[in-house]
Every structure is written in structure tokens, then in C-alpha cells.
Amino acid sequence: MQTTVAQDAKTAISERARKSTRSSLLAIAVLALVIFAIPVFVGDSPYLMQVAVTTLFFAALAQSLNLVMGFAGVVSFAQAAFYGIGAYTSALIALHFGVGFWGGFVAALLMTFTLAIVLGLPTLRLGGPYLAIATIGLQVIIQSVLLRWTSLTNGPAGINNIVAPTLFGIQIRQGVSYYLMVAVWLLAIIVLLYRISRTRLGYELLATREAEGAALAIGVPVSRLRIAIFALSAALAGGTGSLYAHYIGSIDPYVFDLTLSATVLVMVLLGGRASIIGVTIGAAILTLLPEYLQAVSNYRMVLYGAGMVILTLFFPKGLAGLAILRRSIGRGTRTEPGGGVAGVDA
């Protein structure tokens, strides 16, 4: 009797797991389709294309934060700083060493990855709110360095005339071709996160996020894993920064501020921690909203602040927690989609 019931449960749940795998893959396929179809609808409006590319940059940045915050539970306010380091590294390397965009891009990945390990070693020992505060410190320090290390960064004036990327001998300039390049990068990040969420690494990260002591007790090397993921997250932000620098052509330190970090953090909260599709949608909403509602734009930070409080208190699973979206945009494993406190929105 007991075994029969258990067998039934096993069959039912295995079936549901298979379905959830299928629906997650479907959701990612649909997302990819939407991303690649957007240029068709944008047409030849440079303004709309710029909005579309900006959305991709924000989505990529939000996904990079999702990795470390959604999966590993490290609330980081330093994402814009790594984005900035990536942008500056890429621009400067391309400028001084004549290695073009691709050399700069690789340098940006390596620089942000390494820097994150160096900065993560002392700070990631901290837990919870203390760690979050330490990342605010990192953010402020890194931005100040970009601002004041004038001999290297040219200070407040920033760096201009950053070269456009070349692919197969063709220069990629603002417009559809650049959009597609950033889209490929975003999708690469999304596929990486999806694979992580489905495999060993994802489960061990979630264990770390959920209960550190228990994670250690089952053999998860918590500290090493946290530093590695912090570094990987920083490298993804850095790569995105590189793409941004060579897209926009000129950068200054003011872009990479705490406000940007907070904005990206709200995107993750809105989308739902560890929900890949949710965070993409969250990023799109928060990029497009200020673009189209001038009134919103003026009070943006007020709204983001309020959003941070409300989402944390009442909707810890964000969009991914809304019942209607649960099936299609869950974070992929057999877990309640998107994580969040179970039952809050049930």
C-alpha cells in the first residue's frame, strides 16, 4: 500500500518535473524569439533602437546580479561598479594597446573576475546585511577611483572616441547589428544561468542561500563557492560594461553610480530572485517605464526605493511569484518557482 502510493507520487512528480523542464526551455525559446524579433518592429527609428539596446544592457546586468543574489543569496550593491570597471578596462585596453573591441572585451572579463576575487575575499566572509553594506562601500570606492584617478581614467571628462567592434571585418555600429551582438551576449548569459539552475552548481548555490550551516554540513564549500560566483557575476557585469562602452563611444564615471546598482537590484527583486525569465521581464519593465512616463522618470528613485521595500516585504518572489506567471517563468527546478518565502503569495 505504502509503496504503491509512493510509486504514484514518484510517477506524478517525475512527470511534472519533465513538464517543467519542457516549459522552461519553451519559455527561454520564446524569449529568444522575442528578443530577435524586436528589431523588426523597431524599424528604422534610431530612438527606439537605442531604447531596445538599453533594455538589453539592463537585462544582462540584472542577470549578472541575479546569479550572485538570486542563487547565492549575496545581496550586492556593487554591480554598477563592476559594469564600470568592465567599460573602462575595455575602452582603455582597446585605446592603448590597439587590440580593438575583442581584446578589450576579454580584458574586461579577466579584470572584473580578478578584482572581484580580491575584493570578495575579505568582504564575502560577512553575512546578510553587513555584506550588503560592504558592497555599498565597494561601489562608492570604485566609482571614486574612476573619478579621481585622472591620469588613467581622465577623471570626470571620461574617455571618448572608443572604437566600435569589428566582426568578420565589418564594423558593428549603433543600430540593428549592435543590437544583435548584445542580444547574443544576453542569451549566452541566460543559457548559462539556466544550465546552472538545472545542475549541481545551482542546487549547491541555493543551499548556500537558504541555510549556510546546513549547506556546509552536506559538504558544500560555501566560502569558495560564494567567491567564485561573486567573481563570475562580476565578470558578466564587466563583459556587459565592455559592450556598453564600445556601443556608446564615450564613458564617464557618473554613469556607474550607486543609483544604477540600486536600479539593477530592484529589477532582480521585481523579476523574482533566481527566476531567469522573471528578471528579464523585470529589467524590461524598469527600463521602459521611465522612458515612456516622464512623470515616473522624475520620481524614479523614489519609486525604486518604495518598490524595494514593498517587494521585499510583500512580494519576495517578485513577478515569478504571481500565480498566473508561475508555470511559465519559474526558475526551472522542482522548487517553487522563483524562490521567495513559500506561501506568501499562495
Partner: protein, 258 residues
């Protein structure tokens, strides 16, 4: 063969001697009870053995390997699993995911191989799924596989902790009050489970419930004020003057020992 050797283990918290020169061994295949009044140092002893705390002095050897001062995750990977007195599940994950998370830590395939979806990594992950099902069936949680663990009834949460510990395929398992707060029939289930475990595992169990200690343990070690005051067969220990004194002298229920 000796599975666990604890020698002259001492742990100070400021001026408090939580453990004071404790020495004992657990042989392979044994089920040993660790008992004592509240505050005797039982959980501290577990924490030191499992690497959650570093001892002030003394050594811990696991199957002949000196693991003193090792980190908890390293000790776990060597084959020591534990449950927590204050339940420590992964609350937002389902029962299945809780146990699967423990199982994947033993994979031969590394993180990158799994992320890349290499054939042998996929195959290994699939075999783990049946390990999870078997473990859940063993503790009687298969039907709850899809339940978010924080929504489980209390008794089931304790079973989940045991399932998660077993999924790491340990040689030694440390159970910290596995039947705390359970009724008689639930306690009987856990006792039956511990009896099943002993064919493949060595068990060290902290428990206040004397029916369990007397029912499943081959040997009982008694701690009081951080010191070992008795070590022997349950019947002998039960009649030990110092043990009776320790329980009666404290504010703990005297009937426990009666």
C-alpha cells in the same frame, strides 16, 4: 574498526567549559547514544566533531584520519553527516530539492562538466534521482516530495533532515535529538529507521527520549557539565550512581532515567 575517536576534547566559550577533556570512541557499525542533562555539552560535542566549531584542545579522528580543525564541508565530504537540533532545512526548496541538493555534493562530475551537460555528468545526475527517491522512501517522505519543506509538519521536517544527511552517503551519521517533539508512534517510526540504518551506517545519536536510547543504542555515553561521566551498555549506565545524580541534581525530569 574504529569509526570515530574523540580524545581529550575540550571546548571553552569564554570562561565556560562546554566540553572538558572528553574521550570516547565509536566502532564501525555501532549505534551509540549521547545523553546528559541540558547544557551538558552534547550539541557542542557534535559541532566540534562535525567541524562547525574548532576545539580548544583535543583531537577528533574519523576512520583513522585526524580531522581536528577541518572545515565542516571537508569533514562532510569525508563521510560524516549530521542533523540539527534546531531544524535547518533549505526552507524555500521542496523536499525533493532538499535531498537532491545533498546528493549532488557527492557527484564525481564537477560544476563545469554538469553545466556543459556532458554525457557522463547527465548520466550521473540521473542515477542520483533514484538515490533521492530511495532515500525519501526510506524515511517515508516520498509522497511529500513536491512539498515546499517549510510547509511540512514538524515531525516530517526531522525526517527530511535525516533524509538529507543520508543522501550524502555517509559512513558516520550524527543525529541531534531526532525525535524531539514527536509522539510515541512517530518515535517508534524513527527507532525503526535507526535500526534499518545500522546495516550500512555508524550512528551517534543525542536524545532525551529514553525509550529510544534504551531501544536502539548498543552503548550510551553520558555527559554532564562538559565531562564524560559514564560510558557503557544502556542497562549498566541506567543504574550508574553518577548518572542518576547528574539527572536528579539538575532540573531535568527525574522520570526520564527511571
Amino acid at each position: 574498526m574504529s569509526m570515530l575517536d574523540v580524545a581529550h576534547l575540550t571546548k571553552h566559550f569564554g570562561g565556560v567549559r562546554a566540553l572538558d577533556d572528553v574521550t570516547f570512541s565509536v566502532a564501525s557499525g555501532e549505534v551509540v547514544g549521547l545523553i546528559g542533562p541540558n547544557g551538558a555539552g552534547k550539541t557542542t560535542c557534535f559541532n566540534v566533531i562535525a567541524g562547525a566549531l574548532k576545539p580548544t584542545s583535543g583531537t577528533v579522528k574519523f576512520a583513522g584520519t585526524d580531522v581536528t580543525g577541518w572545515s565542516a564541508d571537508r569533514i562532510s565530504r569525508l563521510g560524516v553527516a549530521r542533523t540539527f537540533q534546531n531544524i535547518a532545512m533549505f526552507p524555500e526548496l521542496t523536499v525533493w530539492d532538499n535531498v537532491y541538493a545533498a546528493a549532488v555534493t557527492r557527484m564525481k562530475a564537477g560544476y563545469l562538466q554538469c553545466v556543459l551537460g556532458l554525457p557522463w555528468a547527465r548520466a550521473e545526475a540521473r542515477t542520483l534521482e533514484s538515490v533521492v527517491w530511495d532515500t525519501l522512501a526510506l524515511v517515508g517522505l516520498a509522497e511529500e516530495a513536491d512539498t515546499v519543506s517549510s510547509q511540512l509538519p514538524y515531525g516530517y521536517q526531522r525526517r527530511l533532515e535525516i533524509a538529507r544527511a543520508l543522501a550524502t552517503r555517509p559512513r558516520l551519521i550524527l543525529l541531534d535529538e531526532p525525535v524531539a517533539g514527536m509522539n510515541a508512534s512517530e518515535t517508534a517510526d524513527i527507532m525503526a529507521l535507526i535500526r534499518k540504518l545500522r546495516s550500512e551506517h555508524t550512528v551517534l545519536v543525542i536524545e532525551h527520549d529514553m525509550s529510544l536510547v534504551m531501544g536502539v543504542c548498543d552503548r550510551v555515553i553520558v555527559l554532564d557539565n562538559g565531562k564524560k561521566i559514564a560510558d557503557g551498555e544502556p542497562d549498566t549506565v541506567q543504574r550508574d550512581e553518577r548518572v542518576i545524580q547528574a539527572y536528579l541534581g539538575g532540573d531535568i525530569d527525574a522520570e526520564l532515567i527511571a
